[in-house]
Subunit: 494 residues, 2 copies
C-alpha cells in the first residue's frame, strides 16, 4: 500500500491553525509544494471510478477535485470528483484527524485538486448523489495540489441542470454567455465531458468504418490560391505580398484523389465559410466529414455506402457510448434515436406528395424550406418510425450546375440529401464528368465559362468514368442528441 | 458469370473500322456511352489484385487503366493497372477478336479506363514486369469507359524511376515542377499511392494507440482572435469588419481541455505559420499531430507515453504496411528504420560530450545547429544502433520562458526533443503552471507582462497541478522513410 512521502511537507497553513501547538495531525494535511518533476514516487493513484466494494477496507491514494464540502460538527463530508465520476469522502476528528485538520479540509475551496489517502468503506445505504454509490472514503491525509479561487463564476451543479427545472422550479441555471466566458469550468460538467467523448467517438467510428471499407484518409490544404466554391462567402488571407483564401470545402482535392485512382477517400477537417449569419447552421468554421468515392455503374452504390456508414456510427454510439448518451439525456431529455436497416430511401416526388397531403402547397421543382424539412421529418417519423432517411432525386433546378441529370427524367437529378430528425445533415450527388454536358449545364445556369475553364479542362484529360461527391455540412452529434452543440465547439469567435 | 449487357452499345469507332463490313466482332468492343446511373447491372468487376491462379480459366470482368500497350502482328499486349496492381492482358485475332478489334485495342490511349471481359490463363513463365506474375488475361471484349488524352505530360514509369538511375544511366525521370503541375497523374504512381497510404496509416496508428490509452480526440478552432504563439509568423484573415488570425498551434485549446479535466487529449489538424522560407522544415501550412496530457508527479510519465506511442506507430507500419514501405524503397532506397524498446533517452549534457568527442566546439548552454543535430544522429546510430531517441534536459536558456526549470539544476529545464534519423520531429516540455514563477521567467526574458496577462491569470484560477505540452511539428513519414514528402502534400501554394 502506498504511504505518505516524507518529502511532501506542508508549505503553508492558516495562521490560526499553525498557532495551535497541540495539532497531533499536522503532518497529515497541508498545501503541497509546486510539482516540478522533483521525484518519481511509487505511490499508486486509484481512479475514482475504481472505488467500489472490491476495494473495501483498502487504504488508497486518490487525486481528485473537491466538488462539494459540508462541515458538520466534528466531521466534514466532501464529494471528490474525477471527470464524470464522484465519491463521498469523510474527515472526522479521531486517531488520524485533528479538529484543525477537519477545519482545514472544510475550508478548501471547491474545484481545488487534492491528494487524499483514505480507507475505502462499504456503506449500508446507497449514496444516491454520487456515481460510486456503495462506498465512501475515510480520509487519513489530505494535501492541496492546486488551490482554486474562492469564488467561481458558475457552479457545476447549476450548469448541468435541465432548462425545464430552471424555468418551472425557479432553480439556478447558467446562461450561454457565462458558459462561454468560463469555458474551462463549463467543460468540466458531466454533460460537457460526455459531449466531447461523443464527438471523439463519432469521428472514430466514421474513420473505423471507412478504413474497414477500404477508404484512404487524406489531408487537404486549407490555404488555397482561389475560392473553392465560387467567390461568395470566402475568407481572404494576407499571404506575404499576395492574397490567398480559406478553403470552403475539400471538394477539388477529393476529386483529384479520385482521378488519381484512390477510388475511395475521406477527410475530417475544418471548413471555412464567411457567412455573417447567427444560426446553428451557419458557422464561419466547422469540422466537415467528407467522403469521395468512384462508383462503377450507379450512384446508389455510393448512397448505400454512406447510409451504411451512418448506421455503423449510430450502432457504435449506442453500443460503446451508452453512459455518455444517458448523461447528456439527463440534461437534455429526448427520445431514443430510431433508424431502419436498410435505410429508408424516399424519392423527392414521394416527399412532395406527403407534404401536400399535410396541406402544404409546393411546386414540383421547388426546394424544401426549413419548416417544410422539419414537417417532413415528423411525417416520415409517423409513417416509417425512423429519425434517419435519404431523400433522393431532387429537382434538377434546385441543385448546382455540375449535378448529373436523371437519365429517366430530365427534370430530376442524381442527387440526394440525408436527414436526421428533420434536419439535413448531408448532401451528395453524382457529378457531371463529361465536359460537353458540363458546358451545356453551366451555360443554362448563366455561368461564365471562362471562370470554370480550368475545372472543365481537368475533366476530359484524366477523369475516371464517374465520380461522386458528397459533403457533410456539419457533424451529426447535434442532430443525434438534440444538443445545440457543434463540433468546432471550442471556437472562440473574434 | 457476368455477360455483356445488351444496352452497352458502342457509340463511335474510327471510320476505317466502321467501313469494314465484315467485322464479326463489332459488338465486342467500342466506346461506352457516358455513365449516368442509367442501370444497375449484375456484372461483378474483379479486382486486378485478385487475378491469381485461383481464378485460372474463369471468365471475368475487370475495370482498369491501360498502363502500356504493344501491338505485335495479329495480337496486342496490354498491361492493365488498378492502383498499385497490374496484370498482362492479350487481345489476339481469333474466335473472339477480329483484326479490327485488335487494332482498336492497340489504339486506345494510355491511361484510359477500360472494361474488359477475359479468360484468366495461367502462364508458364512468371511475368516479371507485373504484380500479377502467374496469370494473364485473354480479352474477349473491351470497351472504353473514359478516354485519356493521346499525349500525357509525364510517363508513370519515368515518375517512379530512382534518381540514381536517371543520373547514372541517363534514363528519363520527372522533375518536381512537372509533377506538381500534373499532380493527378503523379499521384497514380505506385510510390505516391504507397506514400498516401502510409500517411493515412500513421494518423490511424497514432489515433488507435492514443484512444487505447484513454485519450480523447478534440477539434480546435483555426480562426482565432489573437495570435497564438506571439505575434510573429501569423497569417491575418479579413473577418467581416475586423481582422482575425490563423492558429499557429492548438496549444491554448489543448491546455484548456486539461484544465477542464480531460486529462489526456490529442488532435490532428492543420497548423499555419507565415514563414517565408523555402526549406522542408518551414511550411506555411502543415498537419500537426498534437498531444496534451496531465501527469501526476514527473514529466517523464508523459515522455514515456509519447515514446511508446511512436514505437507503436513504427511497429504498426512495419507490420501492416510492409508492401507500401517496400514500394517506396524501390524509388527511394534506404536502410530499415531501427528503434529500441524502451526508447533511448539521452540527457543534453551526454549529447554535448559525444559531439565534443567528435571535435565539435559547443558551449554548455548553446542550442544544437541543424548540422550538429544530424551529426549527433549519426553518432547515436553508431553507438546505440537506433534511428530514434529522446534528447532530454535542454538548457533552460534555449527554451521558451514558460518551460519549467529543472529543480536539480537551474541551468537545465524539464524539456526534451525527439529525433528520427537526426531530425527533430517533436518538441515537448513541462509548462510552468505557477503564476509567480511564470511571471519571474517572463521578466527574465524581457517579455511585456501586459501581453501575457490573460494567460497568467488563467493559471491560478483553474489550472491543474501540472500540465504538459508537446507539439509535433510535422509528420513522421518523411523522417521514417526518407521521402521529401510532407503530409499537407496536396498543398497548392498560391
Amino acid at each position: 500500500m502506498p504511504s505518505a512521502s516524507a518529502s511532501r511537507k506542508s508549505q503553508e497553513k492558516p495562521r490560526e491553525i499553525m498557532d495551535a501547538a497541540e495539532d497531533y495531525a499536522k503532518e497529515r494535511y497541508g498545501v503541497s509544494s509546486m510539482i516540478q518533476s522533483q521525484e518519481k514516487p511509487d505511490r499508486v493513484l486509484v481512479r475514482v471510478s475504481d472505488l467500489t466494494v472490491h476495494k473495501a477496507d483498502e487504504v488508497v491514494w486518490v487525486r481528485a477535485r473537491i466538488h462539494t464540502s459540508r462541515a458538520k460538527g466534528k466531521q466534514c463530508f466532501l464529494v471528490l470528483r474525477q471527470q464524470q465520476f464522484n465519491v463521498q469522502a469523510l474527515v472526522a476528528v479521531g486517531d488520524h484527524a485533528s479538529k484543525q485538520m477537519v477545519k482545514f479540509a472544510a475550508n478548501i475551496n471547491k474545484e481545488s485538486i487534492v491528494d487524499v489517502e483514505g480507507v475505502v468503506r462499504k456503506v449500508n445505504q446507497k449514496i444516491g448523489s454520487c456515481t460510486q454509490q456503495d462506498v465512501e472514503l475515510h480520509i487519513q491525509k489530505i494535501y492541496v495540489i492546486s488551490l482554486a479561487e474562492p469564488r467561481l463564476p458558475l457552479q457545476l451543479d447549476d450548469a448541468v441542470r435541465p432548462e425545464v427545472e430552471g424555468e418551472e422550479e425557479g432553480r439556478a441555471t447558467v446562461n450561454q454567455d457565462t458558459r462561454l466566458d468560463n469555458r474551462v469550468i463549463d467543460l468540466r460538467t458531466s454533460t460537457s465531458q460526455a459531449v466531447f467523448r461523443l464527438q471523439s467517438g463519432i469521428c472514430h467510428l466514421f474513420r473505423e468504418t471507412l478504413i474497414n471499407k477500404g477508404f484512404v484518409e487524406i489531408q487537404t490544404p486549407k490555404i488555397i490560391s482561389a475560392a473553392s466554391e465560387g467567390g461568395a462567402n470566402v475568407f481572404t488571407v494576407s499571404y506575404f505580398k499576395n492574397n490567398a483564401y480559406l478553403a470552403q470545402s475539400p471538394q477539388l482535392y477529393k476529386q483529384m484523389c479520385i482521378c488519381a485512382d484512390f477510388e475511395k477517400v475521406f477527410c475530417i477537417g475544418p471548413v471555412f465559410r464567411a457567412e455573417d449569419s447567427n444560426t446553428h447552421r451557419h458557422l464561419t468554421e466547422f469540422v466537415g466529414l467528407d467522403i469521395e468515392m468512384a462508383f462503377n455503374y450507379h450512384y446508389h452504390e455510393v448512397v448505400e455506402e454512406i447510409a451504411d456508414t451512418l448506421v455503423q456510427i449510430f450502432k457504435g454510439l449506442q453500443k460503446r457510448f451508452q453512459t455518455e448518451i444517458q448523461t447528456v439525456n439527463k440534461q437534455f431529455p429526448c427520445e431514443p434515436f430510431k433508424f431502419l436497416e436498410p435505410t429508408l430511401r424516399l424519392e423527392y416526388c414521394e416527399a412532395l406528395a406527403m407534404l401536400r397531403e399535410a396541406g402544404i402547397e409546393m411546386g414540383d421543382e421547388e426546394d424544401l424550406s426549413t419548416p417544410n424539412e422539419k414537417l417532413l421529418g415528423r411525417l416520415v417519423k409517423e409513417k416509417y418510425d425512423t429519425d434517419f432517411y435519404i431523400l433522393d432525386k431532387y429537382p434538377l433546378a434546385v441543385r448546382p450546375f455540375y449535378t448529373m441529370p436523371d437519365p429517366r427524367n430530365p427534370r430530376q437529378s442524381n442527387s440526394y440529401d440525408m436527414f436526421m430528425r428533420g434536419e439535413e445533415i448531408l448532401s451528395g450527388a453524382q457529378r457531371i464528368h463529361d465536359p460537353q454536358l458540363l458546358t451545356e449545364r453551366a451555360l443554362h445556369h448563366g455561368i461564365d465559362l471562362e471562370k470554370i475553364k480550368a475545372y472543365i479542362e481537368f475533366l476530359p484529360l484524366w477523369s475516371p468514368s464517374s465520380c461522386w461527391r458528397r459533403h457533410w455540412a456539419g457533424t451529426s452529434d447535434d442532430a443525434v442528441f438534440g444538443i445545440a452543440q457543434c463540433s468546432s465547439d471550442l471556437n472562440v469567435p473574434p
